[in-house]
Amino acid sequence: MTALLATLGALVVAGLLVVAQRRFGPRVMSYYDRNHRWAFPTTFLGFFTVAALLPIWLNVVQEELGVSVGVFALLSLGLNVVVGFAGLLDLGYVAFWAIGAYTMAIFGGTGPLHFAHLSMWQIMPLALGIALLAGVLLGGPTLRLRGDYLAIVTLGFGEIIRILAENLERITRGAKGITDIPSGEIPHDSAFWRGLVDAGVHVENFWIRVYNFFAPGTDHPVRPMPTGRTVVFGVNPIPYYLLLILVIMVMVLVIRRLNESRVGRAWAAIREDEFAAESMGVPTLKYKLWAFAIGASTAGFSGVIYAARVRFVSPESFVLIISITILAAVVLGGIGSIQGAIVGGAVVTLIPEVLRSLSRFSDRFIDARYGIFGAILILMMIFRPQGLVPSRRRAAELKGGAEETKGPLGAGLPAEAEIAAGGADAPA
């Protein structure tokens, strides 16, 4: 019940914020200047500090939910690069997540390559590389295609990866899935670890100490560490949660820098008018591949952490609806908005939870979650295409009216869009 109230409360607060931003946005924004050089570092650090301290107030079930939020936030952060920045509709994004998870499972779990017995830390770069390679292999031949065709081909790719996982039984164990994936662990006997211990730092207990400091007497006891090969992560969701926060922080910085660099400008050009970009000398294929590769590797990373956490992967975890859920997260948060991607990832993870709590009233609520996603997608496209936390530039494009981005049968009014994109602070 508290979970229900908390999530409902969070959604209500989010809704109020959206309303407030529309109503008072211009006035408040003049006090809080987005472009001030301290604006980003303070919000960034503030947000993630709160996020990292959040487990103080959560119980184990909610911490588990926090891990899911992190996994989906990371996924939507990656898809946002592909869909939001480069404007490429990828409907098979789940494939890269699956590749990450299966890399973890095959090289770490009881799969046929279990003799490799790599740890999560060793698999991370490996999965990153494999997902990136898959992104480039898929993108190379298909990124020349027009937008709608790309959507359907990527959808096909997602299905192919799932069918492969189902049928390549010697490698993936087919529909049975791979079990006993090692959880994240930090070996006690590594030089790094000994160095830390010698220096008197007990990393594995650090956050638990922090939590105990802020909230003494809660259910976060400092656990005695077993000797030998220390399992730090184990079944405790907090380490995964913190690891996800760390990865998301790094990805936010990387993606933000990229988006404000030459690459980001190339993405914007491609998104707004590919032919014009090409004729102005932008190597469009190269930058589209960049977007694909970054998206793919982010999903791969997310897949590794997910597999290490749930310790079991099977093909049915990687169905099309996941791709669509991630897309919904990107759209809900605001296409092309980094903050939006994180908010969207949280919202799509929490909506089913709210519905699950409502299922005490009727079993139907949880079955209805995808229908509700669907309705939200339609309504968002009609009433707030720019999303909950919009990117200003993208909002102007999505609002329509721009000649170069016009949809079916649209008669363009380019001047209007330029004014909006050019930037008055007023939300569009």
Partner: protein, 308 residues
Amino acid sequence: MPECLSSGLPIRLVGGLTTGSIYALIALGYTLVYGVLQLINFAHSEVFMGGSLAGLLALEAFTHHGATGGAAYLYLSLIPGMLAGGLVAVALERFAYRPLRRRNAARLAYLISAIGASLLLSNIVLLWRGNQFENYPTTITAEPVLTIGSADVFNRDIIVFVAMAVMLVVLDRFVHWTKTGKGIRAVAQDPETAGMMGVNIDRVITATFLLGGLLAGAAGVLYGMYFGRTRFDIGFVPGIKAFTAAVLGGIGNIRGAMLGGLALGVIENVGAGCFGNQWKDVIAFVVLVLVLMIRPTGLLGEGVGAKA
């Protein structure tokens, strides 16, 4: 010649042509809408599912009254199936696309709205009918009608194929001979000019969705008859295949949709004979990617206006 091609080839061909006919009927809807709006109607698979469900309900109503009408009931159930398909398609246009068109929304917005509509529709049916497969009442007993090579051609194969051929000819003539058809071709060629010449664009678009919906609804009933069952998510795979077929034949091209549907059905069925049934979908997607890379405009080229 590999063994898989020589042994079961005739029976695979017959099966391929039958499923291909169903793909072709759905593909026509994709192609018509794409020709007019340059939009992939992603929710078209739910139109197909709606038709299939309406056919099931009609057949259940018939059999409920104790009658055993056989094939006549199948043909009768095509009517509610087609009407349901048309209704769903027009409703889609009205509620998911038209508001966006009014606002000149970006292309991505249409696709996302379509995905949303698809989720919503299949979820409504899930909540209504549950997640179990529902068996189609048997209207006709399968019996071989003629034999080609070593393959028996069943009466249901013939029904599906003939229904497809008839509907294709009717559609083709409709687009050529009627005023609405002329409007469709005009809007496909140049919507702005067509609008200035007095074509009611909204009405033409509604008519396009209606036509596609009628055909997909019929395909849904035929699919239910052929495979004997239906469910909320039945549209997904045929929908994707039909889109592939439309692209294969040249999207926006009516005859191309038929050719693409038949070709895809045959390729995946024969290919499944060689590699195993579990690779059917993979074969279809690989074909799609190859076609798009080698001949991006499909076998017969694009465009309702130019080629229809």
